[in-house]
Symmetry: C2
Subunit: 484 residues, 2 copies
């Protein structure tokens, strides 16, 4: 929206304080509308409109994903609609999705001959084509991805960016390999890229191997990334699935090995949706609004002229600064609207602008500008070294955001020994629970704790402890949490 | 696809000559698969898969559109699914689309309470939100756009990129204004931006005002851009519609004017789809494959080492050149595959690479490289001035492509005086026909000529001539053509 739009949609900026963040759900909904991320008033439940400002954040966020994948993945696009017969081929997969698929049954005024599913995910759209594309070992590995809209007929309570019926920005990667081991390595690569991605968003996260009953329908195993939200519930913000040869069998995807033998391929797929943006906004935001890391902020620097004394002089200095920062490839906004400086401060805070510059006659006299960081730090900076100073401050802000989030994250994960402790810990955080690894005990854990098992933490080693259910000694642990 | 993928999918590159271009339909279909633009083997008619190479072209093309719109439009995204009651509100609009809408009627295993239309275009999704967004004159003008998939249940023969059931890349802009006149000006702005866009693709085009019976359903008038395809039929590649207050009335979009009065807004919308890529590939391509303008080529420069004599030396020079050009922000590919140089030449010609560099021991001795342009021009260029030379050649290639296309275009448009002449001219081109402007005569023209009326040419003035039907003197002309 333009500034004028902000006036109509948002509350008056001077009153634009959000509900307390410990009232997370209310805070979150208010934030999305007041900061103009998502308009939730579209007349279909669970389907939302991206405001231009929200869309600009999304664009920046997804360009990081592209940057991380493009060196060895190729971007493509497959159709949205999947014919019923293809969709119904893989039995485990159907079982996982049949209750939440939207079906197109009519074209114009007549019924279709074959019903068409709106993709909930694209395995069944893509893999029949992989059968045509892959002939020999020279075609492998194959790594593609697409960023598309997908659909789930959610019967649970929907929530903007978190639980949607139209997921507008599903990045799904699909890879094909000659062996199971290479596919397993690819799952590790995927998790590594996702880790880098979340690190750039200054978001700490947990990595765990989902329990067998919670893996992707049709997968050998699923590794997942979760972010702890402000209320202590976890949000699954990325998954990587080893598909083994399950789909390869169903869709007959084979290759000719070097020795001339026809072999089934091994596959992986991994995905991230706009939940990454839900996590980004929720973890960093505060009662004044968004707090955006430098790299993804649509406006990185807001210049607010303090129009006292020689107003023309102040404005002309501001314009020079704007030009200078623009030339240094920063996204700058000079706010020349009629509002008073205080109102402008509130407005740009709401929009999460990492750095605000205040420029008044006294600053100009001294050859400085006042630089205010979104985390509250404030200092005078010499104009001649402004670009360097801003870059420096942007880096420091990144560290502050990550540090804060890390501290919060660590404060919400606790190793526990018993069901009771786990129950209490998962009220507002994540419990790390000893588990013998048996499915039975796993189900009992979930039932008795009243929370979900996220699964075994990855890249960590634990000492022996007694399974919280059966008491058997084990080095296995599982994260447990209430999940979004 | 990777190079290896090319081997499996495309024909062997040495044989990769396409059918003669005067057999346009066959040439076009072969081109799309051999150059790896679109895979037409997806199991739903009219829905296609973008190969990675085709997708890369699309990305470059659409980034030009974004660049042209972003200065005064904001990118957004609205939901795909439109509830039946909203969709059915605007009577003229429904009439235009009801036969070609796909309907979602089922979620999971149960029927939906309200059927959902897959957007054929998004007026009925967007305008109920505009009603919420717009309150006062300060909110106007509002200019947004989105690039999304849209759906048409086409009963006519489908054709990749040209007539699709899933249009994967519909750029639709929607603007809102205080007055009818401002909206009319916006239509002109839209046509101007589109003109710039097609100019950057080196594509000449015709601009005409569609006859009243062929305007967008619900519009006051429609201005359209057509490209003449190699077989002389025209392809509508852009439209801009003045919507007047038709939708404003239906969706109650009003604003408070400065004098406090509530007024209906005036609206426009304008769109471009992947047809722009169909035109791009068709007009410039030849029997050796794609011919891509520099700006949109996924690979701008292909370096082919001629591995004679000191092979290591040749390769190391090639690598240096690759780095140098990469540093100059060119998209470069050094082809170190096992194929012979001739096969590599064919391959990169098929992919439309604007500039090929051949680097052999003799070139190195002389301090030059051999530069071959996709239009056939070839010369030795000193290595020290390579970046400048390539930039120069890229500009010249652009002029050559535009010049060629312009010549073709002009050769296919002819002013005629009679029905017979129009009939003969529209067999393989566009006829400019005198017309009194009456609807009746227009319909008769279409019937008797056996071609469509594109409408009145814009930005041109004509002398008086006799209407080809009724003989009445008129300064009006209309383009007529067989349309895709």
């Amino acid at each position: 929206m333009t500034d004028s739009k902000t006036k109509s949609n948002a509350k008056d900026s001077k009153q634009a304080k959000l509900p307390a963040k410990n009232n997370f759900s209310e805070w979150y909904h208010e934030l999305l509308i007041t900061a103009e991320i998502i308009d939730n008033r579209y007349p279909v439940k669970g389907m939302c409109v991206w405001f231009p400002f929200g869309f600009a954040i999304r664009k920046n966020v997804y360009s990081i994903i592209r940057e991380l994948l493009d060196p060895d993945h190729q971007e493509t696009q497959f159709p949205l609609l999947i014919p019923e017969n293809e969709f119904m081929k893989e039995a485990q997969h159907i079982k996982g999705f049949e209750d939440e698929v939207y079906w197109v049954t009519r074209g114009g005024t007549a019924p279709l001959e074959v019903n068409l599913a709106l993709r909930p995910t694209s395995e069944t759209a893509i893999y029949p084509m992989f059968k045509l594309w892959i002939r020999s070992h020279a075609d492998l590995p194959l790594r593609i991805y697409q960023i598309v809209n997908t659909f789930r007929y959610e019967t649970k309570h929907t929530r903007p960016l978190i639980r949607l019926r139209e997921i507008t920005s599903f990045k799904e990667a699909h890879t094909v390999h000659a062996t199971w081991e290479e596919a397993a390595e690819q799952v590790e690569v995927a998790i590594k890229r996702y880790s880098e991605f979340y690190h750039r968003l200054a978001l700490p996260f947990l990595v765990s191997r989902r329990p067998s009953w919670d893996k992707f329908p049709g997968a050998d195993y699923t590794t997942a990334i979760d972010v702890i939200m402000p209320d202590g519930r976890t949000l699954q913000v990325g998954t990587a699935h080893h598909l083994g040869s399950t789909f390869a069998k169903t869709y007959e995807i084979t290759y000719e090995a070097e020795n001339g033998e026809q072999k089934l391929v091994s596959q992986t797929c991994y995905g991230i949706s706009e939940r990454c943006i839900a996590a980004l906004l929720s973890v960093h935001g505060d009662e004044k609004g968004l707090v955006l890391p430098w790299e993804v902020a649509p406006v990185q620097v807001a210049i607010v002229p303090i129009l006292l004394g020689d107003k023309e002089k102040v404005l002309s200095v501001c314009r020079e600064l704007q030009e200078k920062l623009g030339a240094a490839r920063m996204r700058v906004k000079l706010d020349t609207s009629d509002e008073r400086p205080g109102a402008k401060f509130y407005k740009w805070e709401m929009k999460g602008v990492p750095i605000r510059l205040e420029v008044g006659p006294r600053d100009i006299e001294k050859g400085v500008v006042t630089l205010a960081r979104r985390d509250g730090a404030k200092k005078a900076v010499p104009m001649v070294a402004l670009v360097e100073a801003i870059n420096q401050e942007a880096q420091e802000l990144q560290l502050v955001l990550y540090g804060r989030a890390k501290k919060f994250n660590e404060g919400r994960v606790k190793e526990v020994g018993s069901i009771e402790e786990a129950r209490s810990q998962t009220e507002a955080g994540v419990a790390l629970v000893p588990w013998c690894g048996e499915v039975d005990c796993g189900h009992q854990l979930e039932d008795q704790v009243g929370a979900n098992m996220l699964g075994e933490p990855q890249y960590q080693i634990f000492s022996e402890a007694a399974c919280a259910v059966c008491g058997k000694k084990s080095t296995v642990r599982t994260y447990m949490a209430r999940q979004y």
